[in-house]
Symmetry: C2
Subunit: 313 residues, 2 copies
């Protein structure tokens, strides 16, 4: 049986952490209680010279270094991004060049906030065919640029990149065990982007939270059942939730004990598809998530996408 | 050995064919000789109500009908498009809903003009894992909207959609035999898009033609050698070339006899990633390409991507 190993993790957050005071003022000031409900106290914003491929390269270099894999040995690069891409040129080929991954096939993937987990699933399949051996999956987002200045979203949307290195039959590292994907085009219209490139949400936060929690619960249940696992068998649940309201709904709806749910949303904000690899790298680097432990990650993305991935680190 | 079958083809060209006279005037009128060198005499342009998912659905419905596959049985939909997609929402989930493919996982793919062949390769891998059985790969492009009005490109860029239905172990139809992909980020900057959304090319047409011919020749040679084939074993070479100049360079550089090279560029223009499935459907429907015949398709895309696919119909 072919084993797809996870041999390295990395992340990059641009610039210095920004507290609320360091951000442009809101159109409608928040009370202390409202600010607390937003749930983000610090975040990073890409500066003028921070690009999606540049941030992706910083996260990828860290992951490749930890994996002991030279970029030149990569066969495949998948870059998840929706916040910086516009028509052509796309960004994955540029990332390959920045890394010196000269022989890698490189392509961009969409799927909004679910792009990284969709990318892992697609990469897993490409590695299993035997045609490719070493792959890099990166998510890199400049989400802050998709928030209308002065909107509440500008307190939540933030920037960053995260990366996993995958290798077929590496004989070391963690293992990509299983995944479950779902798409629901009936929810196609709940979010879109203005001419100015700013996200608009056409659904109440409460309904959005319910939809997200329901999607994540369904896929997570499928994944656990298929692998003969209960929630207690999972060491860590590392979801991307996007807002504090969705996080609360997910925590209530899912069977994981609160102390087993890991997120660094409060200190990085909503970095969209980069959320899972940024959080994972954060908690692995700090020694909280340990080699061999079982992790379940899940994400939803507007479109509507849902994804859940089971792996050991 | 798992076999990935091609069970149906379809295409859609919006509205009626437009001759040069029906198009807005050019900034710099062409001589008769210059107009002939452009090599496009007719093309279709999407009207106000023709959308990327709508055109994709029309092509897909034809392909699904020919495959005898109800949309509800689809497990997977991959939509190649770069000309109509902008941030969120992406388009594949909407396509799934238009078709009634309620349980399909659906995602968009990029890779500029090479998106359809990249999509076939990725779908092939996902089907081979055994997790998905029936898939639809569609390319749908509104390329005309990416040409500056009055530019020569406005005579070449055109709109359309094409689709293949794939099924694991269908026991009928054609077979997806092999593919080869390549990416070259060093060429990242040769084309981009203005603020108005119009393509700019920063390379001379002659150099672009040379680069395209070289990329297509390299991948095609690799694919033939790996499968123990010579050019004469291939019944039809169905490339996407994008411009008449590239087509001439490809024809000169590759070992296929001219009468074995099929394109309908002169009557559909450059429909980007949709070119290969539109041409294939055209020639299969007319009985020129016959069941069981061996076809090699190849495409380049700005980014820079190259792809070649070997299959029987």
């Amino acid at each position: 049986m072919t084993r797809i190993s996870l041999t390295g993790f990395g992340s990059h957050l641009p610039g210095t952490p920004l507290t609320d005071d360091a951000l442009p003022p809101l159109d409608a000031p928040l009370t202390e209680a409202q600010a607390q409900r937003i749930g983000v106290t610090r975040r990073h914003w890409a500066g003028e010279h921070d690009t999606v491929p540049g941030m992706a390269a910083a996260a990828a270099e860290q992951a490749l270094h930890r994996a002991g894999t030279p970029a030149a040995d990569l066969d495949l690069i998948v870059l998840a991004n929706w916040t910086g891409r516009r028509y052509i040129p796309e960004l994955a080929p540029r990332l390959a060049t920045l890394l010196g991954a000269d022989r890698a096939v490189a392509f961009d993937l969409c799927c909004a906030c679910a792009g990284f987990l969709y990318g892992l699933a697609i990469t897993d399949s490409l590695l299993r065919t035997g045609r490719y051996r070493r792959a890099l999956v990166v998510a890199s987002e400049t989400t802050s640029r998709r928030a209308a200045p002065g909107s509440r979203a500008s307190r939540v949307y933030a920037d960053g990149a995260g990366a996993f290195v995958l290798q077929r039959d590496a004989g070391r590292g963690g293992t990509l065990l299983d995944h479950e994907l779902a798409t629901d085009g009936e929810q196609h219209g709940i979010m879109d982007v203005t001419e100015d490139g700013h996200v608009r949400t056409h659904l109440r936060q409460r309904e959005l939270a319910g939809l997200a929690a329901e999607s994540i619960a369904r896929l997570t249940t499928t994944l656990l059942e298929r692998n003969g696992l209960s929630a207690d068998d999972v060491d860590w649940f590392v979801p991307h939730t996007g807002t504090a309201g969705i996080h609360t709904a997910v925590r209530r709806r899912l069977p994981f004990r609160p102390e087993r749910i890991l997120t660094n949303f409060s200190t990085v904000g909503n970095v969209s598809s980069a959320a899972v690899p940024v959080a994972l790298d954060h908690f692995v680097s700090r020694g909280l998530v340990k080699p061999g432990q079982l992790v379940l990650s899940a994400s939803v993305g507007t479109g509507w996408y849902a994804a859940a991935t089971l792996y050991t680190v």
